[in-house]
C-alpha cells in the first residue's frame, strides 16, 4: 500500500521532474574550434559518418566544404557517400515514414541547428556540446538510450562506439524542504564499457563536430566579422571627416 502511494506520487511528480531536467541541466561551454581548419575537417568527417545517415543538412552544399581547405576531389573521395556531384545538397536517403516509425519523430535537418538551439541557458553550440556528451544507458527507453540535456530523446547515441556505454548515477538525498522526503539526484556518469576514445579524446571530437555544425549554420560568420572590422575602421575615419566638415560649416553660425 505504501509502495503504491509512493509510486503514484512519483508518477504525478514525473512530468514535473522531466520539465525541470530539460530546463535546469546546466550546459557546458562548447570550445570554439571554428577557426581551426583541421578541427573543422575532423568535424566534417564525423558529421558525414555519424549524423548524415539519418539527419540531412539540406541547406548545405557539398562544395561549400571547400571553404574548409579541401579540394573538390577530397570532398568527393572522403566526405560524399550519398551523392556524386559536389554541387548537390547534403540530403539523406532515409524516408520520413521510416524515420517516424523507427525513432518516433523525423530527425530534424541539421543545417542551422546550431543557431536554433540557442536559448537563455546557453548558446546553440553549448547545447549541442552538452547534448552529445550526456547520453546514458536507459533500458526503459525503446532505443536503450536517454539523455540529460534532452530527456527522453528519440535519437539513440550515434557516437556510442567512440564514447562507450555509460550509465547515470543517482543518489537519494534528503529533501531540503521536507525532511521526510528524499530527492533522487543525478550525481554523475559511470563508464560501463569503454569506447574507442578516452573521455578527453571524445570531448575533443565532439567539440570538433559541434564546431563544424556551428560553421555550417552560418558559413559566412568569420568573413562577416573580418569584414566588419574594416567597415568599422573606415567609418571611424569617415566620422572624423564628417565631424570636422560639420564643424567647419557651423562655426559661422552665431
Amino acid at each position: 500500500m505504501r509502495l503504491l502511494k509512493k509510486l503514484i506520487a512519483t508518477l504525478v511528480l514525473l512530468p514535473g521532474l522531466a520539465v525541470a531536467a530539460e530546463t535546469d541541466f546546466p550546459l557546458d561551454r562548447a570550445p570554439d574550434h571554428t577557426r581551426d581548419l583541421a578541427a573543422l575537417q575532423n568535424g566534417a568527417k564525423l558529421f558525414v559518418n555519424y549524423c548524415l545517415n539519418c539527419h540531412a543538412a539540406s541547406l548545405m552544399r557539398y562544395n561549400k566544404l571547400q571553404e574548409l581547405g579541401l579540394t573538390p576531389e577530397q570532398v568527393k573521395d572522403n566526405l560524399m557517400f550519398a551523392s556524386d556531384k559536389v554541387g548537390d545538397m547534403m540530403t539523406v536517403a532515409i524516408s520520413s515514414k521510416d524515420a517516424k516509425a523507427w525513432f518516433g519523430a523525423n530527425p530534424p535537418d541539421l543545417s542551422v541547428i546550431a543557431r536554433a538551439k540557442a536559448s537563455s541557458a546557453g548558446s546553440g553550440p553549448d547545447w549541442l556540446y552538452t547534448y552529445l556528451r550526456t547520453y546514458y544507458k536507459d533500458d526503459t527507453r525503446a532505443t536503450g538510450w536517454n539523455n540529460m540535456a534532452y530527456p527522453n530523446v528519440g535519437m539513440p547515441h550515434a557516437l556510442w562506439e567512440l564514447q562507450g556505454i555509460r550509465a547515470a548515477k543517482y543518489s537519494d538525498e534528503k529533501d531540503p524542504h521536507d525532511p521526510n522526503k528524499t530527492v533522487h539526484k543525478f550525481v554523475g556518469f559511470e563508464q560501463v564499457t569503454p569506447g574507442t576514445m578516452s573521455a578527453l579524446e571524445y570531448d575533443k571530437a565532439v567539440a570538433d563536430l559541434v564546431s563544424f555544425m556551428t560553421w555550417m549554420a552560418e558559413p559566412a560568420q568569420h568573413t562577416r566579422k573580418r569584414l566588419g572590422v574594416w567597415v568599422l575602421l573606415f567609418l571611424g575615419v569617415f566620422i572624423v571627416i564628417t565631424w570636422r566638415l560639420n564643424a567647419s560649416y557651423w562655426k559661422h553660425i552665431k
Partner: protein
C-alpha cells in the same frame, strides 16, 4: 498662356543651359530651393532632431536591400525557409543584404520611437503641425504592418506562430471575427496562401502607402516649417527678405550635420550587422531557425521586441481586469461631465457611449477587449494634437513636475515592452495592468494635467549656443 523659356546668352555654360531647359519644364531648381537650400530650419536643433533623417536613411536601406532579397526569395511555403538560407550561403553577399534588412527592421523602430519621443517632448504635434503628426502616426501604423507581414516571410517557427496568433486576434471580434480571420489568412490555418498574400502586402502594397505617407509627412512639415526644442515659431521673427532670423538653410547646414550623424548611425548599425546580427535573439529569434511546423506549437510565442509594449496591453486585459477597466471608463465619463465645459449634448453623448462601452465590456469576451485596447493604444496617438492644452509647446517651459509625468509614462512603456517579451506570470500581469492604466491615463488625462502648474516664460528668440 504660351510656353515661355528663359533665353540664356549663347556663350552661357552648357550646364546652365541644361538646367534652364529642365527648369522650364519641371520645377527642379525651385524644388531644390524650397526643400533644401532655402528651407529655413531653426538653428537650435539638438541631437534628438536627427532621427527623422535617420528614419529616411533606414527606409532607403530597407527598400534597396529588400529589392535584392526579392530577387532570390521564394514566397512558397515549401521553399521559403530554404530560400532564405540560400541567400545566406549561395548568393554572393546575400548574408550581408539579409542581415542589413533584418537589422534595418529593428533599427527602423529604434529610430522611429526616438523620433516620436522627441515629438512628444517638444510638442512637435501642436498647431500648426497636426497633419505632420497624423501622417507620422500613419507611417508608424504602416511600419507595424510592414514588420508584421515581413516577419512571416522567413517561414520559421516564430514567423508562423506569430502570424497565427496575430491573425487569430481578429477572430475575437464579435460576429464577424471568425470569418474575418479566415478571409485574412485565405485558409483555415496560416499556409501557403497566407504567405503569398503577406508577401504581396510586404513588397508592394504597404511600401507604396508608406512612401506616399513619408512624402506627405515631409511636404506638410515643409509647408509649416520645423518646430524646435524651444517650441518657438521661427517664422514670427523674420528679416527684411522674409527669412526667419533664427533659421538657417537646411542645405548645407543640416545636410552636413545629418551626414555626420549618419556616419555615427552607420557605425552602430554595422556593429550589429557584422558582429551581432541576432542581437541575442531579439533581432533574429532563435526559434525562427526552425522551419515552420503547423503541427508543433512552440511553448513560448512572443512578438519581436518592437511590438511588445502593445502586446503587453493585450495580455493585461484579463477577465479579472475588466471590472477595473469598466471603473476606469465610468470615472473618465464622470470627469468629462463634471470637469469640462462641453455643450450638454456632448456630455450626454459621452455618458451614452460610456454606458454602452461598460455594458459591452461584460457582454463580449475579454479577449476581444484586449484586441480593442491594443488597437486603441496605438490609435490614441492620432488624438495627441487635440489632447494637449498646454500653453507652451516645449517641455523646457512647462512646469518642472511635468517631466516626471513623461518619465513615468516612459518607464511604464518600457516595462510593458519588457513584460511582453517574458512568459506571463501573475505578478507580471498585475504590473502590466498598472502600466496599462498609466499608459492610457497619460493620454486621456492630458487635457487636464497639461494645463496644470506654473508655466515658464517662453523667450521670443530660440536659445542657441554656438558650436
Amino acid at each position: 498662356m504660351a510656353f515661355q523659356e528663359k533665353k540664356l546668352p549663347a556663350d552661357a555654360p552648357i550646364a546652365d543651359k541644361a538646367l534652364g531647359w529642365v527648369d522650364a519644364r519641371f520645377p527642379l531648381s525651385s524644388t531644390w530651393k524650397a526643400h533644401l537650400s532655402e528651407y529655413y530650419a531653426p538653428k537650435n536643433f539638438n541631437f534628438l532632431y536627427v532621427f527623422g533623417s535617420l528614419a529616411l536613411l533606414v527606409l532607403v536601406i530597407q527598400i534597396v536591400t529588400g529589392i535584392f532579397l526579392v530577387m532570390h526569395y521564394k514566397p512558397d511555403a515549401n521553399l521559403a525557409f530554404a530560400s532564405v538560407e540560400y541567400i545566406m550561403r549561395d548568393v554572393p553577399w546575400g548574408w550581408l543584404v539579409r542581415y542589413m534588412h533584418s537589422t534595418g527592421a529593428s533599427a527602423f523602430f529604434v529610430v522611429v520611437y526616438i523620433h516620436m519621443l522627441r515629438g512628444l517632448l517638444y510638442g512637435s504635434y501642436r498647431k500648426p503641425r497636426e497633419l505632420v503628426w497624423l501622417f507620422g502616426v500613419g507611417i508608424f501604423l504602416c511600419l507595424m504592418a510592414e514588420a508584421f507581414f515581413g516577419y512571416l516571410l522567413p517561414w520559421g517557427q516564430m514567423s508562423y506562430w506569430g502570424a497565427q496568433v496575430i491573425v487569430n486576434l481578429f477572430g475575437a471580434i464579435p460576429f464577424i471575427g471568425p470569418d474575418l480571420s479566415l478571409w485574412i489568412r485565405g485558409d483555415y490555418v496560416v499556409s501557403d496562401a497566407t504567405l503569398n498574400r503577406f508577401f504581396a502586402f510586404h513588397v508592394i502594397a504597404i511600401p507604396l502607402v508608406l512612401i506616399g505617407l513619408v512624402v506627405a509627412h515631409i511636404v506638410a512639415l515643409h509647408e509649416v516649417g520645423s518646430s524646435n526644442p524651444d517650441g518657438i515659431e521661427i517664422k514670427e521673427t523674420v528679416d527684411e527678405h522674409g527669412v526667419p532670423l533664427d533659421g538657417i538653410p537646411f542645405h548645407p547646414y543640416y545636410s552636413v550635420h545629418d551626414l555626420f550623424v549618419v556616419t555615427i548611425f552607420l557605425a552602430v548599425f554595422s556593429a550589429v550587422v557584422f558582429f551581432a546580427p541576432e542581437m541575442g535573439g531579439y533581432f533574429l529569434e532563435y526559434n525562427n531557425f526552425v522551419p515552420a511546423d503547423p503541427l508543433k506549437t512552440p511553448p513560448h510565442i512572443a512578438p519581436v521586441w518592437y511590438f511588445t509594449p502593445f502586446y503587453s496591453i493585450l495580455r493585461a486585459t484579463t477577465s479579472e481586469f475588466m471590472i477595473w477597466l469598466a471603473v476606469g471608463v465610468a470615472a473618465y465619463v464622470a470627469l468629462i461631465i463634471i470637469k469640462t465645459r462641453l455643450a450638454t449634448k456632448f456630455k450626454i453623448a459621452a455618458a451614452v457611449i460610456g454606458l454602452i462601452v461598460i455594458v459591452a465590456m461584460f457582454v463580449f469576451d475579454p479577449k476581444f477587449w484586449g484586441v480593442v485596447f491594443m488597437g486603441v493604444s496605438v490609435m490614441i496617438m492620432f488624438g495627441l494634437p487635440w489632447l494637449d492644452y498646454s500653453p507652451v509647446k516645449s517641455i523646457r517651459y512647462r512646469p518642472g513636475w511635468h517631466k516626471y509625468i513623461y518619465i513615468v509614462f516612459g518607464i511604464a512603456f518600457l516595462i510593458l515592452g519588457y513584460l511582453g517579451v517574458q512568459a506571463p506570470t501573475t505578478i507580471g500581469t498585475l504590473v502590466s495592468q498598472v502600466c496599462t492604466f498609466i499608459y492610457f491615463g497619460f493620454f486621456l488625462l492630458m487635457p487636464w494635467w497639461s494645463v496644470m502648474g506654473t508655466f515658464k516664460q517662453v523667450p521670443d528668440r530660440v536659445v542657441f549656443h554656438p558650436h
